[in-house]
Subunit: 275 residues, 2 copies
C-alpha cells in the first residue's frame, strides 16, 4: 500500500508490480565533491534495503572515467554493498561489440579507462571509440580522432553514452555527448551509442537478471538517457532530484518521468511499500 | 567567348554576366604549410588580373585565427594586392551585432583574434561567441563557455562560421562548426552564425560593392559554406580543387556547384573571357 501522505507525483510508478530495479550511479548513489566521491544522503541504506528485500538490482551506468573494477572499489570504499557483476558500464559492452565485428579502435577515452581496453588490437584503426575523456578532449586529440574517421570509407564512431552534461563539484560539465555531436557534424555521420539510452544496452542488463522491461524501474538523474531511455524500452523511468537534476527537467519537452522523487531513499521507500 | 577546349563542367557559371566576385581566402588564395602561409600557384596573378579588369572584388572569409589587420598584412607579405576594406571576416560583423543588441560576450576565440574584440564589455556575459579557437578548444575552456550558456535563461550562442574542417599542413583539422555543434547539443539550443554561409553576412559584403547576388560569383573551397551558402543567396558558387577540397565534394548530396575548377587561376581565366 502506498501511504496517502505521499504527493501524487511520486505515486504513479508503483501502481503496477515492480520486480527488478536498475540504478544509475553518478548523481543517484554518489556525487563528486572536490574530486572525491561522496555518497548521497540515504543512498547506502537505500541500496541495502532494496537488496535485503530480495529485489534484483543492477547498476546501469555510463561511467567511462574509470574501469569497472576501480568503480566498484570506489563504491565499496564509501559504503555501498555492490559487486562487479552487478555493475554495467559501457566499456565491457563496447569491447564485446568490437570483437564481434572485427573492429580495431582508435580510442579517445579517459586514461584511467585504458585497462578495460587492454588486449584490443589498436593498430591500423577502422573505427573510433569515444568516452568521457574529460581533459583528454584536447583540440589535438579531437583532431586525431577526426582524421581517423574522415580517412575511412565508411566511418564508424562508437560513443559510450550520449549524455549532454553531468554535475561535478557542484558545476555542470560537458559529457561525451557533446564531443560525439562535434565528430558527427564534422564527418557528416551518425555515431552508434553503447550505454544508456541504447535499447540493446538496457536489454542486456535486464537479461542478466531475467527481468522483463514492464516489471522494471530505472532510477536516474538524467532525464533523457536514464528516464527517457528506460521508457523507450518499456520500463518505468523515475527521476531523482539529485546529481545533475535541474528544475527545468520537470518541464522537459519530450520526456515525462513516471515519477519524480527527491532522492534514491524516497524512491526505495515507495518501491518497498509495493511489495 | 568561352574557349571550346574547356571541359563542360567549367563553362556553366559564366553564361550569365558576372559583374562582381567574392573570393574565399584560405584554400583559394593561400594554404598553410608548416605553419606558414604560402600563396597557391597562380593566385597572386589571378587577383591582379581580376582587379586590372575593373571587376569589383571582395575577400569573404571565415578566418578567425587572426585579426583582420594581421590577415591583410600576411596576404600582402606573400604578394597579394589587398586592402583592409576589401576583406570581410566574421569578427567585425560580430562586434557590430553585439553592440546593436547590448550583448556582453564570453569569448571562446583564438588568442590572436582578441584585439578585434578590444573595448567590448565582457563582464557579466549574456552570450557566448565562438570562433576557430584551435588549441584554445580545451575541455576547460569548452566547459567555461558551456557553463555561461547553461546559466542563462535564454542562452545566446554566436558562432563565427560553421565550417566542419579545413586543411592545415596537408591535414584536415576541425573547424569551429564542430564545437558549435557540441555546445548546441549540450545546451539544446541553435547557434546564430555570423560569417559564411549566413545570408545576412553575404549580403552585407555584396552591399559594400553595390552588387546584386544574381550578378556575383563566389569562389571557395568549402562546398557547403562557400558554394552552397552563395547559391542560397542567389549567387553562383564555384568550387576550387585546392585547399580542403576532396574528390567526394563533387558528389555532395545537397550542393551542386555552378562550376568546379582546378584553382583560382582557372576560375579567373574563365571569368575574364566573359567580359
Amino acid at each position: 500500500m502506498v501511504s496517502l501522505e505521499l504527493p501524487s507525483a511520486v505515486m504513479a510508478f508503483n501502481q503496477k508490480p515492480v520486480r527488478a530495479v536498475l540504478l544509475d550511479i553518478s548523481g543517484v548513489l554518489k556525487n563528486c565533491v572536490d574530486g572525491k566521491d561522496v555518497a548521497i544522503k540515504g543512498s547506502v541504506d537505500a541500496v541495502n534495503r532494496l537488496k535485503a528485500s530480495g529485489m534484483p538490482v543492477r547498476f546501469c551506468t555510463n561511467e567511462t572515467t574509470t574501469t569497472r573494477s576501480a568503480l566498484v572499489k570506489k563504491l565499496q570504499a564509501i559504503g555501498f554493498k555492490v559487486e562487479e557483476d552487478e555493475v554495467f558500464p559501457p566499456a565491457p559492452a563496447t569491447c564485446l561489440i568490437l570483437k564481434q565485428r572485427g573492429l580495431r579502435p582508435h580510442l579517445l577515452i579517459h586514461p584511467a579507462l585504458e585497462p578495460d581496453f587492454k588486449g584490443m588490437e589498436q593498430k591500423d584503426p577502422n573505427c573510433v571509440v569515444i568516452g568521457d575523456a574529460q581533459e583528454s578532449f584536447s583540440y589535438q586529440n579531437m583532431n586525431a580522432a577526426f582524421q581517423t574517421l574522415i580517412a575511412l570509407d565508411k566511418p564508424v564512431l562508437i560513443s559510450m553514452g550520449q549524455g549532454k552534461y553531468y554535475s561535478e563539484d557542484n558545476k555542470l560539465v560537458l559529457d561525451v555527448g557533446a564531443y560525439k555531436a562535434a565528430l558527427e557534424y564534422a564527418c557528416g555521420i551518425q555515431a552508434e551509442v553503447v550505454g544508456k539510452p541504447s535499447q540493446a544496452f538496457f536489454l542486456s542488463v535486464l537479461s542478466s537478471m531475467n527481468a522483463k522491461p514492464e516489471e522494471t524501474v530505472m532510477v536516474g538523474d538524467d532525464i533523457e538517457s536514464d528516464v527517457g531511455g528506460a521508457q523507450k524500452c518499456g520500463m518505468r523511468g523515475v527521476l531523482v532530484r539529485t546529481g545533475k537534476y535541474r528544475p527545468s527537467d520537470e518541464q522537459h519537452p519530450k520526456v515525462k518521468p513516471d515519477s519524480i522523487v527527491d532522492n534514491l531513499a524516497q524512491a526505495v521507500d515507495i518501491l518497498l511499500k509495493t511489495k
